[in-house]
């Protein structure tokens, strides 16, 4: 009897807790908060938090007393990402912003989609993410299959490089982009002199750089998952006396690159989605983000826009019902902090890669592959 009583008591407690929490909208955030990609991961979680703060400050969402963020750690690991997705499912979040690494986003989205939870990735650029016909999967950033061609356009065009040497660190994302560039480069008349791979956590690149120096390419393309590792490679390349121009992709792109590599990063080219830092939406984002979390990282604005897109859709639909939210996400276009947000039926919102260059200790817009002009 006592046992049954306890059980009833427990259940009633759980139920009242559920009833009390119904007025709070909890959105999930998934990103690597620990491990080698913790820098980008925390940027993403902070971007989501900023969006929630901004929405709350401007009156919140009708029908909800409060909006909260449940930030989960994926550590950029497929298994931990699925565990994080399960945890968010148990917390009954209706929508998730994340994850960072494509290798983590792909399995986690499978789990979330089965439970009809909307997922918007701010940073996973691997094409597969939106190509599996998942109904509730959206992507704010661009796609790698747009990034490699944009890079190649610049390499073969204004840069005039005749030969390249590629290196990647074997993640779904980083190797995907290097493999594609290797494949399409000969079509543009650029010879691939070599394509090497490094291991995660490596710090010493003297052997590989000696190899690159001997091959003597016009351009050394660095496709790594981590900007700090990229910075180490840049420092060592300069110390080795490598003459080739250096180019990285959007994961090497991070303020950390310049912090660590300093002068050695000068003149390096990177592909990254075009963000108009003069636009009102970006200024609104910066005003909310900077006082609390410091300078934004590469994906802070994308995470902010992803969370904004979700919150706007919930507001428009007046419910968290996944199908209604999905419809609202596709229908709602707005000027985001990172770019113009316009999700298509397949979940993508377009790519707008431009070539940026490190000049005077800052990233500056350099060349636009769309128009073929310098900025």
């Amino acid at each position: 009897m006592k046992r049954i009583l306890t059980l009833v008591l427990c259940m009633s407690l759980v139920m009242t807790a559920g009833a009390a929490a119904a007025k709070t909208l909890v959105i999930g955030s998934m990103s690597p908060l620990t491990g080698p990609y913790a820098a980008d991961g925390n940027d993403i979680a902070n971007g989501v938090r900023t969006a929630v703060e901004v929405v709350k400050a401007s009156g919140g969402i009708p029908g909800y007393d409060d909006i909260k963020v449940s930030a989960q750690d994926t550590a950029c690991d497929p298994r931990q990402a699925v565990a994080a997705a399960n945890k968010l499912m148990n917390e009954e979040v209706p929508g998730v912003v994340g994850a960072y690494c494509s290798g983590a986003t792909i399995p986690a989205s499978q789990t979330l989609d089965e439970e009809s939870i909307v997922m918007i990735t701010p940073a996973s650029t691997n094409p597969v993410v939106t190509e599996r016909g998942l109904k509730y999967m959206f992507r704010t950033c661009g796609r790698d299959d747009a990034q490699a061609p944009a890079a190649l356009k610049f390499i073969a065009g204004p840069l005039g490089a005749k030969s390249i040497y590629l290196v990647d660190d074997k993640t779904t994302y980083s190797q995907g982009i290097a493999d594609q560039l290797e494949k399409i480069a000969p079509e543009a008349g650029v010879e691939v002199l070599g394509h090497d791979h490094i291991n995660q956590g490596d710090k010493d690149f003297s052997a590989i750089l000696t190899k690159v120096k001997q091959a003597n390419p016009d351009l050394f393309y660095i496709s790594l998952q981590n900007s700090a590792t990229g910075a180490l490679m840049v420092i060592q390349a300069k110390r080795m006396g490598l003459d080739a121009a250096l180019m990285g992709q959007d994961a090497v792109y991070h303020p950390q690159l310049i912090d660590i590599a300093g002068k050695d990063a000068e003149g390096m080219y990177l592909t990254f989605g075009y963000t108009d830092t003069e636009a009102p939406a970006y200024k609104e984002f910066i005003a909310a983000y900077k006082p609390k979390y410091g300078d934004p990282g590469a994906y802070s604005a994308y995470a902010y826009d992803s969370a904004m897109a979700y919150l706007k859709a919930v507001k428009k639909a007046g419910t968290t019902d996944p199908d209604a939210v999905r419809k609202a996400i596709i229908e709602t276009d707005f000027d985001g902090a990172s770019k113009k947000i316009d999700y298509q039926e397949n979940g993508d919102s377009g790519s707008n890669y431009v070539i940026r260059k490190v000049e005077g200790g800052k990233f500056t817009n350099h060349w636009n592959p769309e128009t073929g002009k310098m900025f």
């Binding site: 291991n199 710090k203 110390r239």
Partner: protein, 300 residues
Amino acid sequence: MDYFLQQLINGVTLGGVYALIALGYTMVYGIIQLINFAHGEFFAAGGYMGVIFISWLAAQGLDPYVCLGLSLVLTMGYCALLAMAVEKLAYKPLRHASRLSVLLSALGMSIFLQNGLMLTQGVYDKPYPTEITQGGFEFGLISISYMQILIVGITAALLVGLNLLVFKTKIGKAMRATAQDKIMSGLVGINSNRIISTTFAIGAGLAAAAGIMVGLYYGSVRYDMGFVPGIKAFAAAVLGGIGNITGAMIGGLIIGMVEIFAAGYLSSEYKDVFAFIILIGVLYFRPTGIMGENVDDTRV
């Protein structure tokens, strides 16, 4: 030929770093038969304390090279104290417990120290001032940076110093005696607890020196930087014959060279594979490692 020489220089530099870390593993193992898994964390702590001391001393307006030398000494001292504290806290109470308990305690200490470093220093990489280490020599296609010379030089000096300490001084003799027989050395008046503590301090000091040099050479440090080099250095210690000081130096150099040559002549992604194939191969034919374990009094 140029290519080979350049890779050889790269290999010696990396090998020197591994050797310095490997010594700590081997000395501690020699004296209390413990594989100190927290050893990689002393290396990481050294990297962080190095950049803290260097920036602080540079702010006092000291000459960069004086700064560097002073930071090296201060960092080694700091990590030596840290290691003594860790030993007292996590290993000494378990001196008479089973070896497995001490091993677990070491693993726990490693996790504790690494996460402590993450919480206090943050998840971002900490950049080292690279101005001091710019430049180098060029011989045709071969380039040797000042930093490589500095690493090899400091490593060699520390190795010579360690050898003198262990084989020519009274404390070295006491260390060797404790390693051979703790009870007997106690009977002849050697304070074995103090000797064990000293051994930890020396090992951690060498790891700290490696940490600061790695920070300078590669340009930044990160809280989890101790893990991978820790594993490699442990492999180097086993390869050379764990418990044997000369073995650790040779093992470190071999692992460093194999890695560089595998990356240089095959592919970078296979370098770890080859480093460990060498390890397995040597252990298959010589289970006690290249130099062999506890051959008379060379063990510490």
